[in-house]
Amino acid sequence: MIIDFPLIFESIPKMLMGIGVTFQVLLLSLVLGTALAIVLLLLRISGKWFLAWPSMVYIYIFRGTPILVQIFIIYHGLPGLDFVRESIFWPVFRDPFGCAIVALTLNNGAYISEILRGGVLGVERGLLEAGSALGLSLRQRFLYITTPIAIRLATPAYSNDVISLMKSTALVSTITVVDMTGIARTIVAETYAPYEIFISVAIVYLIITWFIQKAFGALERRMSRHVRQETAT
């Protein structure tokens, strides 16, 4: 097998034209998914069964089905329902980009919610008892003790999820969104060179992953700087 290097150098710039779309899908569904996750988490730890149960069922469904199937249900399935097409949300579902964001948000929200819950459960009981002894209310304890510690504890798992979401964005090319993978598939269909093109696009994803890793590494170090100072002195 001979690798066509000129073709690789020719196609990488073309695929990079889709990097904007890839990042838009990533950032929008990350922000919206995190917001959804916080809501799901609050319902889950509310201590009231009628709030916790819907949240658990939701998480079970969206973690328990393939993301590709969810994308297809939202993109191909929803327009079949008349009330969806007549609703005010139709402009979102009409647009493949809108469907992509909705699908990745719903899916990712379920995962992030569980990551955050792990962080909340990891907060030491003693700290909360101390807060209670100091006269802090339940709400104050949650905001000033649980939240900062839970965020710190959840960050490594969260960064893992961001990388996983970044790779999931490639799936939106199946519903006509022109992201990097979408452009790669078109180039493959033109050149019949799947090996060169898909390896090139894989390299671009690897580079993005490297940046995400570095960014979260820096963030983790900053958040745990009190620990390091202790060991240094």
């Binding site: 327009p79 009409r94 006509t176 598939r185 078109t186 269909a189």
Partner: protein, 269 residues
């Protein structure tokens, strides 16, 4: 029963003798798949039927030849022609440079074109009277078409400003047209008619453009294939195909299956 059949055969034989006259007609063997409806297929009575079959019969009538049809699998079509299993191919075979290295083709008797399908309610003028696209009128319209097809190449080159959505399957494309995700689709008009416009789902949609047939993108079309070197036969068949086009026969053959002609209508002008 048997007797009447024999009588009939005798009658037919004398009839045939009478018309064919003194010169014995040449018999041309024609290869086709016999399974490619509506172009060449066996109908409910077990007879060969379809557009390719009608064209072959029409040509044979003009050049005064008899026909024998030979059914042949697609991948062995050109080898079988070269091995003298038959003399002509009338099997919806597109004229391509690669094939022309091995065999000759007649003048095209069927088009290779693209056509836009959109809502019945569409009134935008997309093409001028000369059949050239008016790029400005494509603004704001989403057009679905196949990934890396002649249609997508045509849009890239001729109307680069158009918002083209690329599909991997025509079913997904028809579905998105129905759902209003795209305003139009560009595709093969025969396929669009058979698979979409003639079906209940295709109600409310129609062709919204003339045939787009620029040779540079769409090729020449479908022709009758024959072995190289028989220029006399090729000349006769070319003439016959063009006269079938001019006298409206090609359109008549097409209208058995489609509500439109599928050859290049410009020849009749």
């Amino acid at each position: 029963m048997k007797k009447s059949l024999t009588l009939m055969m005798v009658g037919l034989a004398t009839f045939a003798l009478n018309v064919s006259g003194p010169a014995k007609a040449e018999t041309l063997r024609v290869g086709m798949e016999c399974t490619y409806a509506p172009f060449n297929f066996k109908n409910a009575n077990g007879e060969l039927d379809g557009y390719d079959v009608d064209v072959a019969k029409g040509v044979a009538k003009i050049i005064g030849a008899d026909l024998d049809f030979v059914c042949q699998k697609w991948d062995g079509m050109i080898p079988a022609l070269l091995a003298n299993k038959f003399d002509l191919i009338a099997a919806s075979m597109s004229i391509t440079e690669k094939r022309m290295k091995k065999i000759d083709f007649s003048a095209p008797y069927r088009i290779s074109v693209g056509r836009l399908v959109g809502s019945n309610k569409m009134t935008t003028m997309l093409f001028d009277d000369a059949g050239k696209p008016i790029a400005a009128n494509f603004k704001g319209l989403r057009i679905g078409t196949g990934r890396a097809t002649t249609y997508s190449h045509w849009f890239e080159a001729e109307i680069p400003s158009a918002e083209v959505v690329l599909y991997d399957s025509s079913e997904a494309m028809y579905l998105d047209l129905e759902n209003g995700r795209v305003d139009m689709i560009m595709t093969n008009p025969m396929k669009a008619f058979l698979k979409f416009l003639s079906k209940p789902n295709g109600k409310g949609f129609k062709f919204v453009s003339p045939q787009v047939d620029e040779k540079k993108y769409f090729g020449i079309g479908v022709g009758i294939g024959m072995r190289k070197g028989n220029d006399a036969l090729k000349a006769k068949i070319d003439k016959a195909v063009i006269s079938l086009s001019k006298d409206g026969s090609l359109e008549k053959y097409a209208r058995k299956y489609f509500p439109f002609a599928i050859h290049n209508e410009k020849w009749t002008q």
